[in-house]
């Protein structure tokens, strides 16, 4: 769980160690698990398929480091993040972290019918921030999200941009040592993006770590000096952003060209 009084990690010490991790999902082919199958001895008779979402991934992230994760859809980025955060069980391997990483996923805890005010309390307590602490920081959260005028309206009256700004503000109200964003860091308009990027950089200066999964190479380049590239669950590149993102973009561009060619083969005369 997120310890609020974080252990002080010396700069350069590892915050996350991922050692030969596999995450395999057992997906039931077309039906939910049935009671009957629990009694079926022969395991082959169970109609599940294994999906190897993450395969043999190892890396070390150090404090003050912002790590981007890129890869095609279904390459295992989100399962990897959720595994590091301890939200989904890993199949083999070991993961160590200096504190439980906070995934920017407060959205799931919020209730559209409750007011923005209640939701700040709801989301904050879900993250384990004590009520007193939340009340102390309430104005700061609302101001950072820029939703002062709307805070007493039900959340469903918020625009999607305002909602994600509020989520970001709640999740980062108490600086987590390890923050993870799944396509949701740096949302909102240009002005908010600048402020949230500032906050992330501030966090990094306090020796935290940031993981960012994104399909936007721009936000990856903006925030992360280091990038992991996943392909079908495997780590295929790990290095500085310019090199890896360039290679990734080249590779994706090639794929796109190839697909186009398959669709419209160049006419042969």
């Amino acid at each position: 769980m997120s310890e609020l009084a974080t252990v002080s990690v010396a700069a350069g010490d590892p915050t996350v160690v991922v050692d030969r991790v596999d995450i395999t999902y057992r997906i039931y082919a077309d039906s939910a698990p049935r009671l009957r199958k629990a009694f079926v001895r022969d395991r082959r008779q169970r109609e599940h398929r294994s999906v190897e979402a993450v395969r043999d991934v190892s890396f070390v992230a150090r404090s003050g480091e912002a790590v981007g994760i890129v890869g095609h859809n279904g390459s295992g980025k989100s399962p990897l993040l959720r595994g590091i955060a301890g939200l989904v069980p890993i199949t083999t391997g070991d993961i160590y972290a200096s504190s439980i990483p906070v995934l920017l996923g407060v959205a799931a805890a919020l209730e559209p019918d409750l007011s923005g005010r209640r939701n700040v309390l709801l989301g904050g307590t879900a993250l384990g921030i004590p009520r007193a602490e939340l009340e102390k920081r309430f104005d700061e959260i609302v101001e950072f999200a820029g939703v002062e005028e709307f805070i007493d309206l039900p959340l469903r009256a918020f625009s999607s941009g305002m909602r994600s700004r509020l989520q970001f503000a709640i999740a980062t109200a108490v600086t987590p040592e390890i923050l993870m964003g799944d396509e949701s860091l740096s949302t909102g308009d240009a002005e908010f993006k600048e402020r949230s990027d500032d906050r992330i950089r501030g966090m990094l200066a306090e020796a935290g770590s940031v993981f960012l999964v994104s399909h936007s190479m721009r936000s990856i380049r903006d925030v992360c000096p280091r990038v992991l590239w996943l392909d079908h669950g495997r780590l295929v590149a790990d290095g500085n952003t310019d090199e890896v993102v360039d290679a990734y973009e080249r590779y994706m561009g090639d794929l796109k060209r190839k697909r186009k060619q398959r669709k419209h083969p160049p006419e042969q005369r």
């Binding site: 939200l87 160590y96 995934l103 996923g105 407060v106 209730e111 993250l127 392909d231």
Partner: protein
């Protein structure tokens, strides 16, 4: 190992190597903690306590939203058991005449207490069964002690039950054959606490079971129906009605029967039977401890897709 079915893309970069990790990892970096193992019990309970606000806010919002669209709104929470009582009274009291033929004195107050008290356990089990499955997204996004989910379901049902209890007492003292208000009514507080403990324990068991097997939710209405009939809600459990004495003893040892019986002894004029109260207390404590233990044993599994 299965061979990789997709070729490694040509990155033009060196293949990442597994980092050189010290053999004694925790000794080298004592600040690192293993992810994905359960918290020790004391820390778990502390985390649970820290999020108590969350356990209360969720059900309050839900209670409000639940019946928002129906004309009678919140009133349905109370109307539901009352209509049930009316139906059972019509069938068992008026049509089958249990009062005269089976030697049940004052059937209506007996029925009112039975239905209201059993209803708390029934709805708790049903609410608990849905909690993990319904909140899958939440479980996959935020790290919190998962026990907070069944807990918040019970908080919600307990609030509803606290509205139903006074109405039950008013009804009981108004109908024919009901007792006047008396001191033993205060014992209902004890019954409420014990029953809440029992409900929390059993709903944790059902929450985990229905996470593993989705069929549980389909079966549940039937199991609960059977449980309802075998817990002496409608007809007392004794050898006048059930000829087999062994079966009577077994049914009288079942926790829902004991809780209903305790409430009846407290509210109606029945003498207090210490054996019933002792057994009821033992069941409640055992169910809470056992249910919590069983639920927590799968703590890290609940995020699985």
């Amino acid at each position: 190992m299965t061979p990789p079915d997709h070729p490694r893309p040509d990155t033009g970069l060196p293949e990442p190597q597994r980092p050189d990790l010290p053999h004694d990892l925790r000794g080298r970096w004592p600040h690192l903690r293993r992810v994905g193992i359960r918290l020790p019990l004391r820390e778990y309970l502390r985390e649970l306590w820290r999020r108590r606000e969350f356990a209360i806010t969720v059900p309050l919002g839900e209670l409000k939203a639940q019946n928002q669209d129906s004309a009678l709104g919140q009133v349905w929470h109370l109307l539901n058991p009352l209509l049930l009582i009316a139906v059972y009274y019509l069938i068992f009291g008026v049509m089958l005449q249990v009062e005269d033929r089976r030697g049940v004195d004052n059937y209506l107050p007996f029925l009112i207490v039975g239905v209201i008290v059993f209803n708390y356990t029934r709805s708790s089990i049903q609410a608990g069964a849905r909690m993990i499955v319904k909140n899958r997204k939440l479980v996959q996004s935020i790290n919190f002690p998962r026990a907070i989910l069944p807990l918040s379901a019970i908080v919600s049902e307990a609030i509803a039950h606290l509205y139903a209890l006074p109405i039950m007492l008013v009804l009981v003292s108004l109908v024919r054959g009901g007792p006047p208000p008396q001191g033993t009514w205060l014992l209902l507080v004890v019954v409420f606490v014990l029953q809440s403990m029992f409900n929390l324990g059993i709903s944790m068991v059902v929450a985990r079971l229905s996470f593993h097997f989705r069929d549980v939710q389909q079966l549940l209405p039937f199991i609960l129906r059977l449980y309802f009939y075998s817990s002496g809600v409608l007809i007392p459990i004794n050898t006048d009605i059930i000829p087999n004495p062994t079966l009577v003893t077994i049914l009288q040892l079942n926790p829902a029967y004991l809780l209903v019986e305790m409430a009846r002894e407290a509210v109606l004029v029945g003498p207090l039977d210490p054996q019933v109260w002792l057994l009821g207390t033992l069941w409640s404590v055992a169910m809470l401890v056992g249910g919590f233990w069983y639920f927590r044993a799968a703590e890290n599994e609940y995020g699985r897709v």
